[in-house]
Symmetry: C2
């Protein structure tokens, strides 16, 4: 399966891209244009700008079904009265269509990969596969410090890995990625086991870290260590670890994250909406070369999966919170959104199934941007326009795994996904 995309603008000059077996084989420029190659599929880019697709470092995809269910509440009543009782009523079918809705929304906003943490693994995995998007996907794990539950969860993890485990990580659409929820829902025994499991099988590992002050205070009281130190003492931190949120960090924890090569995911909208307090210490992470990704978190605390919006808000938040308009500029935040700031496709092998650049040999995951979109004009600075102005609205075409997932803003079968997700939400409401 090959594809040729012609009549595009790459790095400010006219180009064409030849894609084969999910990878960018050749980039043609100047005197090589038009390229003389046989191809299965020919796409006229219409003068579109080509940029790397976005990667969502932390979400709970199927929570699209809880979009707008409860907002503007304090954390504990929101979780205890609204989110948890509703989540408990989600069926396997809900998870399938909730994840399909999430994948559709991400594709439509230029995202081709996400790190997921949720329940009903077979169904969420099937939904990801059917949607054609890439992922590093759960299963989530919580044992609530119960020995027997811990044993069962570890056995389930082992079984799911036997069934779905990564054969060839570079070519997997979905990387099997254990997702212990957090230090306040998973026992140290299970966490330690997962650290070993991740190391022995070379698996990414996805966990919430230092999202709230309460998490830090409780950890200090119980373990006389801060969360990052505690996780490190359990052998859980490595270049395979994806730490979501990380807003309450001290210097010594930053040093540990840097030393261990942990990838940290920034979720500004969720942190602001839930008033997590503090602020993602971008400058401290950048100065230590800590790999960074951008994440949307789940739809119940955002309430969308639009990473372009997330990038703009991230840049605004740093400037506001730290009082420095030069902090986290458009290029820097775009590098976080594409995975470049995490070294994805470069030095960091945590997600070998994606790349962060449009270059020969890279995975063919890219976006065509409409140059005539009202918010893309004038075009003094492409990245500024993408981050601060047009965002997702200007994404015309999405290519993932060398296949077209969206063309002229349309995704095959999107009406069906929206209809089924709406039906599941309605039925969920009636069950409550």
């Amino acid at each position: 399966m090959s594809m040729l995309i012609t009549n595009i603008s790459l790095d400010g000059e006219e180009a064409a891209i030849y894609i084969e077996a999910g990878h960018i084989r050749t980039i043609y420029r100047k005197e090589q244009l038009p390229p003389q190659v046989d191809t299965d599929e020919l796409i006229d880019g219409g003068g579109a700008y080509v940029v790397p697709a976005l990667k969502n470092g932390h979400t709970h995809a199927a929570m699209t079904l809880l979009r707008g269910f409860a907002d503007d509440m304090k954390l504990q009543p929101w979780l205890e009265q609204k989110i948890w009782p509703t989540e408990a009523k989600l069926t396997a079918e809900d998870i399938y269509w909730g994840t399909r809705l999430a994948a559709l929304e991400m594709i439509k906003s230029g995202t081709v990969f996400f790190t997921d943490m949720y329940f009903h693994y077979p169904e969420s995995r099937q939904a990801i596969q059917d949607a054609g998007i890439k992922a590093a996907s759960g299963p989530a794990l919580l044992d609530f410090f119960d020995d027997q539950a811990g044993r069962e969860r570890r056995r389930e993890m082992q079984e799911l890995f036997s069934q779905y485990g990564n054969q060839n990580p570079e070519h997997e659409q979905i990387l099997f990625t254990p997702a212990p929820h957090s230090i306040y829902t998973v026992s140290s025994k299970t966490l330690r086991w997962l650290g070993d499991f991740s190391r022995d099988n070379n698996l990414p590992l996805h966990i919430h870290v230092s999202e709230t002050k309460k998490e830090v205070d409780d950890c200090l009281q119980q373990h006389s260590m801060r969360p990052v130190e505690y996780l490190d003492s359990l052998g859980l931190l490595s270049p395979r670890t994806i730490a979501a949120h990380a807003v309450w960090l001290e210097e010594k924890e930053l040093d540990v994250l840097a030393k261990r090569g942990v990838t940290v995911v920034h979720n500004p909208v969720s942190n602001m909406k839930l008033s997590s307090g503090s602020c993602f210490p971008f400058k401290d992470l950048r100065d230590r070369n800590i790999p960074m990704l951008m994440g949307t978190d789940g739809c119940s605390s955002n309430n969308n999966l639009d990473l372009f919006e997330e990038m703009k808000i991230a840049a605004l938040l740093q400037k506001h919170h730290f009082g420095d308009p030069e902090l986290l500029n458009a290029e820097e935040v775009f590098a976080i959104g594409t995975g470049a700031a995490a070294g994805i496709g470069g030095g960091n092998g945590v997600f070998p199934n994606i790349s962060s650049e449009v270059k020969e040999g890279a995975h063919a995951d890219l976006l065509l941007i409409d140059p005539e979109h009202v918010q893309m004009v004038p075009n003094y600075n492409l990245i500024s326009n993408l981050v601060y102005s047009a965002g997702a609205a200007a994404v015309d075409t999405v290519v993932c795994r060398g296949k077209v997932l969206m063309r002229s803003g349309k995704v095959d079968g999107e009406e069906e996904t929206v209809r089924h997700a709406g039906r599941c939400a309605q039925a969920l409401l009636e069950r409550l």
Copy 2:
């Protein structure tokens, strides 16, 4: 000219709306459906949700031509090295197409009215008129404390008013609205004259107030008063006054704003991007019933004119800055975006040419929202979905002055506007 919009959802129930001469004449519900009326134009809403259109309380429309020209800089070098020298090169034609581009962008994101402050008044006014959108529009005034310049600017203001002044405010598409730039660019003599001019002619008056700490510190040093007190001493504050930004306010200033009935415009994106410091004191304003609007500011400090995005960021910023997730909820911020929180169309007569509700007798300025948009599903809470999830992307149809300005996401002549604006920007770049 009459219009009937059928098959819509209003306040959660099926409805139809009959519009005549720019106003909502009749709302049909339940047993009155389908309505039996003759009409010039019939629109099938396709099950769309109907909501009031948004109003942009503060912008500099033609600055679309400076979108992305300079970002991520400190205020003074940004203004002195980038913005001012470039603005000085803008021609009357630039202003026309820059304003057309702005109007197009606002229409496409659900905004039907804006308060503008800029130069080349005849051309910006012509652009607004041609675009079909409503406005309270300039001219901007700066005299830089020069007596002769002050005399000339006041004479020009008087002349422009003679030419364009409001005949019948309730039916004007464009309200003539003097726009003294600020206390640090306009002399007290001219400000005092404008206060009288606004009162004598019943004109809205639009001014930047307390955007930066420097403005406050300089005012204290020069006048021994804070900016709001100083403006009040000049007779400039009244229910006709539109005060943009207002992030550096003390208690006594809040009391003055409340007493004078000033409408305050919140511009969170611009304030965050430029690190204006402090934060719009929403709760203090709400508790004093101070009228509030939402604004985007100009495209050089945003970099778009999307009020839906502005509402989401406003809600997130309050929660983050003040550490309270319940602060500025979706309904409250939507009321600011539509003008309801400013009493527009209700007690506050500052802009008699707009309304903030979809009700009989109101101006026919409304939006049809696509119920099948991926980010509108599920629909537990329409306002939450509009503010926190879908935003502008779900706006299908825009009605302003009882006329359809956008249908199925398309605006007549949009390609031409984008092309001309792009051409003007290119020529501007070559002149620099």
